[in-house]
Amino acid sequence: MSGFPILSVMLAVPLVAALACLFSGAAAARTIALAATLIDLVLGAALWAQYDIGGAQWQFQENVALFQGFAWKLGIDGIALMLIMLSVFLMPICILASQSIEKRVSEYMAAFLLMETLMIGVFAAQDLLLFYIFFEAGLIPMYLIIGIWGGAERIYASYKFFLYTLLGSVLMLIAMLWMINEAGTTDIPTLMAYDFPADAQKWLWLAFFASFAVKMPMWPVHTWLPDAHVQAPTAGSVILAGVLLKMGGYGFIRFSLPMFPQASADFAWLVFALSMVAVVYTSLVALVQQDMKKLIAYSSVAHMAIVTVGLFAFNVQGLEGSMVVMLSHGLVSGALFLCVGVIYDRLHTREIDRYGGLSINMPKYALLFMLFTMASVGLPGTSGFVGEFLALTGIYKMSSWVALVAGSGIILGAGYMLYLYRRVAFGEQKNADAAAMPDLSVREWLMLAPIAAVVLWMGVYPESFLAPMRADIAALDARLASARPEGDARLTAGDPTTAKTHEAQSHETSAHGGAH
């Protein structure tokens, strides 16, 4: 480890820029925000480049003891690295997407930069209380972003978002205090290896679940999400879907699973039940939406449900798959919200019926929109396929019924996404104003093209993203091994030698038969 506190710098850059934005005019604030997020992106790239795959579990550690029971302790493993990369990658795009914001620009940029600091902080914190502070502090800027720059029902949405998430989190706080009291430390890596008594684990797990389920969001506490999304500005939606939702999944993988493995196994049925309902129910709800953003918001809930079933599959495929779904969903749903934003900026409506036949007057837009739609559906070659395939494989080993129901989500997903795409991009151009919209501008290209590139990269060569996480997921898998419930699939590995002869035989038959 070099002595350079790169994580602290990554936290400080947006924070300082946020303060600078508050005291500068609109144009300057836009520039400062873009510059700060780009600096963080560069720092993030450096972080990834220097990350030693196969090295120590926790890297780039910083530790300054502040006062009794509280330390400025940072450090990342591969899982955190990937999520930090997702955050710093999406932020400059969000700032670009916010060019259409005209109202109170400097405060807007400040709120976004503050969000960036807090998001990185959540993923980098290694002190339990520090984590909680970052985790909760995000409420304030997000409340302001939804409430000030949101749409018509913004005030209702902002209250709902704030109070739902706060209610979930305070229970977690009490659980954290109990854990600190029991284990005598606030150090997250130590707590991850600490064996809490089995009966206490249950209560602790439920308290953490209350918080993460709301953040995730899982059915039936997902109702804040469609409201918040629809009312948030485009960039707000991107951050909400892209990174904030990942805090729930990160919470499960960092806290619930390793700290309470037994309780996680005991309550896996609960997670499965809620997730199965979510997959089917929210997919069906998405199918009948008239509002594009609402549709994508509901699809987020369905995708997140696949993440949760994958996480609680208790095996490597499930965990890896869930991580990739999270990364992929962050990119894809972010990109879809940007796509909605592109046409919303032109026509100022999100109603699907007001569009139609956009592939005629906006062919480039239609192409990119198509790519992201396919990625959301899970077409092989895109990031969505990799994650969903792995997650479903993982859950199949655990329970074939859950895999069946969760798998139906893929079909339903294809249904509502393709239906959306057809109504927006294909068909006749029934609205003159929609038909007159110009194609993508340079700025919009700059926003969407990098995401498209990464989506394809992750789809074609996921190894780049899986490699840093492999050791950490293996460690988590080993930690979970003792509590792993027995699956109903009873898969047995085939004997390689017989497989070979079988292969040889089939080669022969195919050579003979000619058509295989």
Binding site: L66, F67, Q68, F70, R104, E107, L129, Y132, I133, F134, E136, A137, L139, I140, Y143, L144, G147, I148, R154, I155, S158, Y159, F162, L163, L166, L167, V170, L171, L173, I174, L177, W178, I180, N181
Partner: protein
């Protein structure tokens, strides 16, 4: 020699007495605005001197018999010093913001600082009390000054009403307290706290339980804990805002410190007897304070309910009856004082273009665009009161809940945090009005630098920068609590 020692220990109180009388005497001849302003500054200087005398006691962690003065009637230990410093700071702040307010009504008179000084003197004696009689004298000295202060704006009906209400209900509370004290004396034959603790060492007679209930009821009145909170919203709304600032901060600290002394010292050996009462009062205050605030349209009434809510959280710390809980209370108190002063100073700064105070929450609409810094400061105070990290209000709640969890009072902590979520709703409402609504163009008036400086100090303390002093705050609270809990 012994007298000299006693006088030295009571030096701040003696200073206040002499200075108060002298300023009163001088101001009887020197009338007018300038004289009143001078008296105000003089009292602030006296308070600063008192703080300078008190601070070393806290830093040295003084405790034990050598802190006792006047034959054991008065203790100048580290705990009293901690409470006193908070009281002096709060009183000083509420003096500094007063002239600008009262001069508008042509009501700035030298009596105001003198009354505050006498109230502070009373509070100083309260927190130094080691005997029921010292306690009562201090309490009454404080209360008498406070009744007059509530009615200080003679021309305003609301102020007069507040004074009368405060007087009637306060006297009732004093009576209840006195009754409880007399019962305690009857059962123990002593008014000394250490003596009471020793007498109840082997158990609490059934009759003495009544004594305990009456004493706690009287104290609950003074700290405005549910179910004895009814006077608070009316008095806070009616009293002139600088006086409300004072009421919500200094006497709260004094009464809570007193409650800690009485419960942890005098009845310290009988914690299981009063813990259920305190838990009930704590949770009832948390929830009633939160629910009652929701319908309020006046910011002062809202802050009154907020203070009831905060007292609930403080009492959760007390309910643990552990040193950790007491220390958490002191940390919370320090943060609470900053939040309260910050909140009320921000309210004082809200004036329309003619300089009239703006108290209606709906009139704050769009404040974030008309007075950016003020709105941001008030938002910091509100989020801090709601206990949202990274603001310091979160830390106060955290230490209290931590103490509760450590003491095994898991369900109390859970109910407490649920109450804090309910409370978050109305704090959010204020932020919503300021930030989300269209400007109403009401609160446009400018404010002077004293208000700005005090508000800036409070906001800086509540901002994440405040975490830098948490270490020192924790150490001092632990020193103070060590003096309180071992002396018993």
């Amino acid at each position: 020699m012994d007298w000299l020692q006693s006088l030295r220990l009571a030096a701040p109180e003696l200073l206040f007495t002499i200075a108060g009388l002298a300023i009163l005497l001088v101001s009887a001849w020197a009338n007018g605005k300038t004289a009143a302003r001078l008296a105000n500054w003089a009292v602030v200087a006296v308070l600063a001197a008192g703080a300078a005398l008190t601070a070393p006691v806290l830093f040295s962690g003084a405790k034990g018999p050598e802190t006792l003065a006047f034959g054991g009637l008065f203790a100048a230990d580290a705990f009293a010093a901690a409470a006193k410093l908070l009281i002096y700071a709060a009183a000083g702040a509420s003096l500094l913001v007063a002239p600008a307010f009262f001069e508008r009504f042509r009501a700035m008179r030298a009596e105001y600082p003198v009354l505050v000084l006498f109230a502070v003197l009373g509070m100083s004696m309260m927190v130094s009390a080691t005997n029921l009689l010292t306690l009562y004298i201090g309490l009454e000295l404080n209360s008498l000054a406070a009744y007059v202060l509530a009615a200080f704006l003679k021309t305003d009906d609301r102020s007069a009403e507040a004074g009368l209400k405060y007087f009637v209900l306060g006297s009732l509370a004093s009576g209840i307290l006195l009754f409880g004290m007399s019962l305690t004396y009857g059962f123990t034959g002593t008014t000394d706290f250490a003596g009471i603790a020793a007498a109840f060492k082997d158990g609490l007679p059934a009759g003495a339980a009544f004594a305990l209930v009456f004493v706690l009821a009287g104290l609950a009145f003074k700290i405005s804990a549910v179910p004895f909170h009814m006077w608070t919203p009316d008095v806070y709304e009616g009293a002139p805002t600088p006086v409300t600032t004072f009421f919500a901060s200094a006497p709260k600290v004094a009464a809570l410190a007193l409650t800690m002394i009485v419960t942890l010292k005098a009845f310290g050996t009988q914690a299981p007897a009063w813990q259920p009462i305190v838990i009930f009062a704590a949770l009832a205050s948390v929830f009633w304070g939160a629910l009652g605030a929701i319908g309020q349209t006046n910011i002062k009434r809202l802050l009154a309910y907020s203070s009831i809510n905060n007292v609930g959280f403080l009492l959760i710390g007390l309910a643990t009856a552990t040193p950790a809980g007491a220390s958490a209370m002191l940390i919370y108190l320090a943060i609470y004082v900053a939040m309260t002063i910050g909140g009320f100073v921000a309210v004082l700064m809200l004036k329309d273009s003619d300089g009239n105070p703006v108290e209606n929450i709906a009139d704050f609409a769009g404040l974030s665009r008309e007075r950016k810094v003020l709105a941001a400061s008030l938002a910091v105070v509100m989020f801090s009161l709601a206990g949202i990290p990274p603001l310091l209000g979160f830390w106060g709640k955290l230490v209290v809940f931590q103490a509760a969890v450590q003491a095994g009072m898991f369900w109390v902590a859970v109910l407490g945090v649920l109450g804090s979520v309910v409370g978050a709703f109305y704090y959010l409402k204020v932020v919503k009005v300021m930030y989300f609504d269209e400007p109403a163009g009401k609160a446009l008036g400018k404010s002077d630098w004293v208000h700005q400086a005090i508000l800036a100090l409070c906001v800086l303390f509540l901002s994440p920068l405040g975490y830098l002093v948490v270490k020192c705050l924790t150490a001092l609270s632990d020193l103070a609590v060590a003096a309180l809990m071992t002396a018993a």
